[in-house]
Symmetry: C2
Subunit: 199 residues, 2 copies
């Protein structure tokens, strides 16, 4: 991007904005212009919010969630069942689970999924720390809430194998029709899974 008609600060702003997921050079320019129109409002607020987050937000040393306290507020919340751990791929998945409000145990963020293609092996993920948590003996169930993708399911298999020797129940999220899903628009795999697990 070349934006010589404004100063280097504006150039830098657009360049960094265009690195955000979902923003290209064009939309980065649009966002920059929007921010510069009222520099004492959103631009300043975001500068503060970004600096605050960078200074205070940490990765929870127990589960991997992002929070300003460590261990995170989910890990220390009273009334949550410490004997059930829900393993998810990313923090965004943890937040999605929390929004649904159906789970009242603890979490473990794996940090992704095994992928031969992208060269992601077990040591690149937080699997060892999950096994250590389970081996501590307080956990009676691990729910593998990994994505219903090939990589996600491969990872679920791998974790199941690694936990085999321990006295713990291992479950996975059910596969089937999504809420409001129409048969005509669903792939064969989903229909097959829903049929196999019919109640």
């Amino acid at each position: 991007m070349n934006q010589r008609s404004a100063g280097p600060e504006v150039q830098r702003l657009i360049e960094l904005l265009s690195k955000l997921p979902g923003l290209g050079p064009r939309s980065a320019r649009r966002v920059a212009l929007h921010l510069l129109k009222k520099p004492d409002q959103l631009l300043t607020w975001l500068a503060t919010a970004f600096a605050d987050a960078a200074a205070k937000v940490q990765s929870c040393r127990v589960c991997g969630n992002f929070d300003t306290v460590n261990p995170c507020s989910v890990c220390v919340a009273p009334g949550r069942d410490a004997s059930v751990i829900c393993a998810v791929e990313e923090v965004g998945d943890l937040w999605a689970m929390e929004r649904s409000g159906v789970f009242k145990g603890r979490y473990h963020v794996i940090g992704g999924a095994l992928s031969a293609l992208e060269g992601i092996g077990p040591d690149d993920l937080n699997i060892r720390s999950l096994i250590a948590r389970v081996a501590s003996g307080e956990v009676r169930e691990v729910i593998l809430a990994l994505n219903a993708t090939v990589d996600g399911q491969t990872t679920a298999h791998y974790i199941t194998d690694r936990l085999a020797g321990l006295d713990v129940r291992i479950t996975r999220l059910a596969q089937g029709l999504p809420f409001g899903g129409e048969l005509d628009h669903l792939d064969d795999g989903t229909i097959a899974a829903a049929m196999a697990s019919r109640r």
Copy 2:
């Protein structure tokens, strides 16, 4: 948006991000997660870039461009023709003109277009300052590079009327086929304009 599973700093970050043009709650969350994954990189850089821009970028007192110097670098650039002013609606239009590299005069950012619907009158726009620049006597041509919309063209008419008494040539951008435009995909108005201005 409710994100109790992370701290208030994260909540604030997502809330502000979702106010950016083109980002909704979902994409704001995605951007926040992307930033928090490596807080010492993009998140910190953006905090600095935003604070820098908020502190240093100003609206040029002559033309209305955004820059860290005032008057802006376009206004003070040597070798640009001060006797030709290109009037545009927004700073983004100025940048677009500069990217095309076809214009070597000065600019004037009107700040929008007249709109009865949105209640935008002449006093809400930088039209008075344009007339003052022209009245100073150094300007021999004003190019009205306003959008080819009803509001843009209404504004162009209005400015032409206001400049009528002054000794200045007033031109507009040609209307016609866009580069690579196919007749079959163009609206009737464009085709009619291209036909009327045929060479």
